[in-house]
């Protein structure tokens, strides 16, 4: 640790712009996983890399005030969503984890294919974000 104060205004300004682009890219990867490369795992990793970029440009306290989330609960919610998606197939008399899809007429997007596999992917996404951010914050916190 050096004594003089450093001023990282270039890094902070770039981070404010770039982190939103990275978040948008991770959202795109998450949604495109059905028919193209991507999916919940890599989408979660890119989301947590956007948060890591915020952690690098700012500090742990600032990021916790921006995102007042306990990431352990995020991982737990992801596991719960994944299990609930798997168990939801029992309601229709289908085996565990069987999924279905249908074509719907959405107001803005037109005819869209919606699959329940996306809900399972959302669970994977939340687990990956939660676990990665928990690991990184735990390592960063210790003095």
């Amino acid at each position: 640790m050096r004594e003089h104060k450093t001023n990282d205004i270039i890094m902070q300004t770039v981070t404010k712009l770039v982190s939103f682009i990275i978040l948008l890219f991770s959202f795109y990867l998450f949604l495109s996983g059905h028919n193209a490369p991507g999916g919940g795992f890599v989408g979660g990793l890119i989301t947590s890399s956007a948060i890591v970029l915020l952690l690098l440009a700012f500090d742990l306290k600032t990021v916790q005030s921006i995102l007042p989330v306990n990431f352990i609960y995020v991982a737990g919610a992801g596991l719960l969503i994944a299990i609930a998606t798997g168990a939801g197939s029992f309601l229709f008399g289908a085996p565990f984890l069987s999924h279905t899809f249908g074509h719907f007429q959405l107001p803005l997007l037109g005819k869209t294919e919606l699959a329940t596999a996306t809900l399972f992917d959302l669970g994977v996404y939340l687990v990956v974000v939660g676990v990665t951010m928990t690991i990184i914050q735990t390592i960063g916190e210790e003095e």
Partner: protein, 94 residues
């Protein structure tokens, strides 16, 4: 002919990456190595683009953006480690 040009540029990128690897190994200071690793990342992006043209697929286009993001974050993390000695600070304004 087009394939040959692509293969030739792939070969040139490989030679350039090899020279960067020499800089990573020999580099007298740590910042030399970091800059060389960053440039290797950029070369990797170019090689991914060339390979995806050669294989006539668009499946690798996400990887290009991904490598750009990862190499950016990695370089920033290393630069911050060199500058401040710690990568993630607890409270910056203390």
């Amino acid at each position: 002919m087009f394939t040959f040009i692509l293969q030739l540029s792939l070969g040139i990128m490989a030679v350039s990456t090899l020279l960067y690897v020499i800089r990573v190994i020999k580099g007298p200071t740590v910042p030399d190595r970091v800059v060389a690793l960053d440039a290797i990342g950029i070369n990797l992006i170019a090689m991914t683009a060339l390979v995806s043209i050669l294989l006539k697929t668009t499946a690798f286009l996400d990887i290009i953006l991904l490598l750009g993001i990862l190499s950016f974050i990695g370089t920033i993390a290393f630069a911050k480690f060199l500058e401040k000695g710690e990568i993630i600070e607890n409270d910056r304004n203390r």
